[in-house]
């Protein structure tokens, strides 16, 4: 094989990566919109999400209130836009905590002796055997309800996934020939781990975490829907959905809009995450 014929396919693979995929573009566009809403909600709406307007309750979409008003006459668009922040904080925060703790546990298990590894991984297996949402409910039962506690609950439920993944990766990378080559140079064990094992084991975890953000947003909304997370009247998609259900016969848009937003968010994050995953695996996109 020659250098020439090796570089050519790489270039074309990169070009192919730029081919416009409509799903991916829509996903990225939606996420950009979401980030704008979270950072600067005033750019997207001029209404106050908590202000009870005098225009009346259950207004249909259109006019001054683009998406209508809810049972108390609050602007639904404003509540949606302001709710984006708590969704994103939930997604990023819970994932960050889950990845950090999970990675620490997984790394420890992957590098420690068989007994420590066995003990840690059985613990992880037990947590893994309980459904995520149920696990989050158990944590809430212990910590109490509220936004911050819901975040911890969702984070806790995600730990075992990251722990398992990083342990497996650590094992694979530890046996890699390049790690052996570094050992043969006489580098201290921790230098080899820091330089070669950690960065290479972490790579697939980053991708998994992106997809995990979507799951965390969904889980956070579920907890709020159940009244265990962010409390009304604070704008949050999960509790807006929960409120809307009570008035579904008066105004179906109160359910449809937050429901659609949650679905689109999780979908967009997943589409982008999967794309990253495919790229990182070097597959044709």
């Amino acid at each position: 094989m020659t250098a020439l014929s090796l570089t050519v396919p790489r270039v074309s693979a990169r070009l192919r990566g730029w081919r416009v995929r409509p799903g991916l573009v829509l996903g990225v566009a939606f996420l950009v919109l979401l980030v704008i809403a979270a950072i600067a909600p005033a750019l997207l709406t001029s209404h106050d999400p908590l202000e009870i307007s005098t225009d009346g309750a259950f207004l249909p979409p259109g006019g001054d209130h683009l998406l209508g008003t809810d049972q108390s006459g609050r602007d639904i668009l404003a509540r949606m836009v302001h709710g984006a922040r708590s969704s994103l904080v939930m997604g990023l925060g819970a994932t960050a905590i889950g990845v950090t703790v999970g990675a620490a546990v997984g790394l420890l298990a992957g590098l420690a002796n068989r007994f420590v590894e066995g003990a840690l991984m059985r613990l992880v297996d037990v947590t893994l055997s309980v459904p995520d949402l149920l696990m989050a409910l158990v944590v809430i039962a212990l910590l109490g309800t509220g936004t911050v506690n819901a975040l911890f609950a969702v984070a806790f439920a995600s730990i075992p996934y990251y722990a398992r993944m990083l342990r497996a990766q650590t094992h694979v990378v530890r046996r890699a020939t390049y790690v052996e080559a570094a050992t043969a140079l006489g580098l201290p064990r921790w230098t080899v781990i820091r330089r070669h094992v950690l960065p290479n084991a972490f790579k697939p975890l980053i991708v998994l975490a992106t997809i995990g953000i979507g799951n965390a947003i969904g889980a956070g909304a579920s907890l709020s829907f159940l009244g265990l997370g962010t409390k009304p009247p604070a704008p949050e998609w999960g509790n807006m959905l929960s409120l809307g259900i009570q008035y579904i016969s008066n105004d179906w848009t109160m359910v449809a809009i937050p429901g659609l937003a949650i679905t689109l968010t999780v979908l967009s994050v997943t589409v982008v995450g999967r794309d990253l995953k495919r790229r990182s695996e070097g597959r044709a996109v």
């Binding site: 094989m1 020659t2 250098a3 014929s5 890699a176 390049y178 080559a181 043969a184 140079l185 580098l187």
Partner: protein
């Protein structure tokens, strides 16, 4: 003259892909019934693509054009997929190099072999089963009833290759295409498969062999076509092409085979290097290295490494301890090459890993300059490691995938305590030693050719100024011309730097070429050891004789 229509007629065949538009660039040949033609060439020469056009399997995104592409008088150029299926398996059998990945892992091999019978013959289920057993017996698989029910992973490499051949000939094809049929096999198994293919040839079946291995071709083919850069550079009867080659490239290719050279002679020549590589890299890749100062022969009797009675066993999946190394002893002196030769599973690599201190022996000792590995504290052991370096078979997997060439070599240079520009200068110097220029510093391993990667691996191994380099099958994955360059490079480095090699290979030709002394290993034991000339000319042990007898050398050509 309709009765002498050749089975295969190819005229001005051009095939390519988006990335390599001229993989095959104007190839013409004919293949008559009962004839065996070999396409020989190095990787990228287009030989496999040529063979694949005859079964319509060039893959998605490929373009195939030809003035004529006929099978048994029928035009098969641009044949629809549906019609190809009636030719593949039924009239053309296809044997690939890697039997493990060509056989369905979830199906017993008997079912795999029955598949072409089911598709292309009217045989009933019971008749098919009988025919499968018949075929397995015909290709020399012992206990066909038992083997037919087993899965590919339960069979050895040789048996898998036999099973694959059985499935290829099941429906009685007129043409058998074998793409590197023996490349992944040990020499003794290779000899058996070649004998089997030779038997098949005696019938009416035509054969198209694709191989990089000239000795395989010498045993099988009636005619040989030597390919390079998508073209046939020379074609003719086997004896003439291999015995009296006309084209420069064929001559150089034959000269690069290490078996035909004694130690100390150079293998590579300019005719072997593809034109664009010469343009890109300059003649430097072939030059002698005057920059290496000749080291005065350090003729001490004190060995650098003494290995005594090394024993190592591993627990198998069935929880039964398997002795992989069963009492191996040897000395390695400064500046010499000790070859370890043996087939897969003979314990060569485990022995090397014990010497490197990467594996702890169950018993026995390794002594480095009179100090025992196992008596050293971890810190002392780390400090000693740089004196022993290693070059692997697959350099790519021995590099951190995130690293550039500069960081790969630089990390090893740092072991000697150099930092900053001194480290960088030394890195460039090492690249120069292996005939790569500073332009390669910023490349990543994926952007290098196989030979360049192995050069980088050698540069890294040289960086800590070791006394011993363990070479574990360093040229097994390389083309014969690149192999020749790497072997020449290793010889130059030894002469210049006085480094000793522990050289592991399954290839007797390579071992013969590089070694001063040889250990022949089998099932974890050293069956014979001694001076290379003596072992190769007057082997004492029965196994060594069998091994040497099994080697298909060019001189055994018909």
């Amino acid at each position: 003259m309709s009765d002498v229509i050749p089975l295969v007629e190819v005229d001005n065949l051009r095939a390519g892909f988006a990335a390599r538009p001229t993989a095959v660039d104007g190839v013409s040949f004919t293949l008559h019934r009962g004839e065996c033609l070999a396409l020989v060439g190095e990787s990228g020469s287009g030989k496999s693509v040529t063979a694949r056009t005859l079964v319509g399997l060039t893959g998605a995104g490929s373009t195939v054009r030809a003035d004529r592409l006929r099978f048994d008088g029928e035009d098969v150029l641009g044949l629809p997929e549906r019609r190809w299926r009636r030719i593949r398996g039924a009239r053309v059998g296809f044997v690939l190099q890697d039997a493990l990945s060509s056989l369905d892992p979830l199906r017993p091999v008997g079912r795999e072999i029955a598949e072409p019978l089911r598709l292309h013959t009217p045989l009933s289920g019971r008749a098919r089963r009988a025919r499968v057993l018949e075929l397995l017996a015909a290709v020399g698989v012992p206990e066909p009833e038992l083997r037919a029910g087993q899965y590919p992973h339960q069979l050895s490499g040789g048996l898998r290759q036999r099973a694959l051949i059985a499935s290829a000939i099941a429906a009685g094809p007129e043409l058998l295409i074998a793409d590197e049929p023996t490349t992944a096999l040990d020499v003794t198994i290779q000899a058996q498969i070649l004998a089997l293919l030779n038997e098949l040839k005696t019938g009416d079946t035509s054969m198209l062999i694709v191989s990089h291995d000239l000795s395989v071709v010498a045993r099988l083919a009636d005619r040989v076509a030597v390919m390079r850069d998508g073209r046939i550079v020379e074609e003719g009867p086997t004896e003439q092409v291999l015995g009296d080659p006309r084209h420069e490239y064929t001559k150089a290719l034959l000269a690069a085979v290490p078996a035909s050279h004694a130690k100390g002679t150079r293998l590579s020549s300019a005719a072997l290097v593809p034109q664009h590589r010469l343009r890109e890299e300059g003649e430097g890749i072939l030059r002698e290295r005057p920059s290496l100062k000749r080291v005065a022969a350090t003729a001490t009797d004190e060995p650098v490494i003494e290995a005594r009675d090394l024993v190592k066993s591993f627990l198998g999946s069935d929880k039964v301890a398997r002795t992989v190394v069963g009492g191996v002893s040897f000395d390695l002196h400064a500046g010499e090459t000790l070859g370890i030769v043996g087939e897969s599973g003979s314990g060569k690599t485990t022995t090397a890993r014990i010497v490197l201190g990467l594996e702890t022996p169950d018993s026995g000792t390794v002594t480095l300059h009179g100090r025992r590995w196992d008596a050293l504290s971890p810190a002392e052991r780390r400090a000693e490691r740089r004196r022993l370096q290693v070059v692997y078979q697959d350099p790519l997997s021995s590099f951190d995938p995130r690293y550039t060439v500069e960081r790969i070599i630089g990390e090893a240079v740092a072991v000697t305590g150099l930092t900053g520009t001194a480290r960088r200068d030394r890195t460039v110097e090492l690249l120069d030693l292996v005939s790569l220029d500073a332009g390669y510093l910023r490349r990543r391993p994926l952007e290098l050719s196989g030979g360049q990667r192995q050069r980088v691996a050698i540069a890294r191994a040289l960086a800590p100024e070791p006394e011993v380099i363990v070479c574990d099958e360093p040229v097994s994955a390389l083309d014969v011309s690149v192999q020749a360059q790497i072997l020449d490079l290793l010889a130059d480095l030894q002469e210049g730097l006085g480094v000793a090699y522990l050289f592991i290979s399954h290839d007797l030709g390579v071992i013969h070429h590089v070694s001063d002394r040889v250990l022949v290993m089998r099932d974890g034991l050293v069956v014979e050891s001694g001076d290379v000339g003596q072992i190769f000319t007057d082997p004492q042990h029965e196994y060594t004789r069998a091994l040497l007898g099994a080697v298909s050398t060019l001189s055994t050509a018909k």
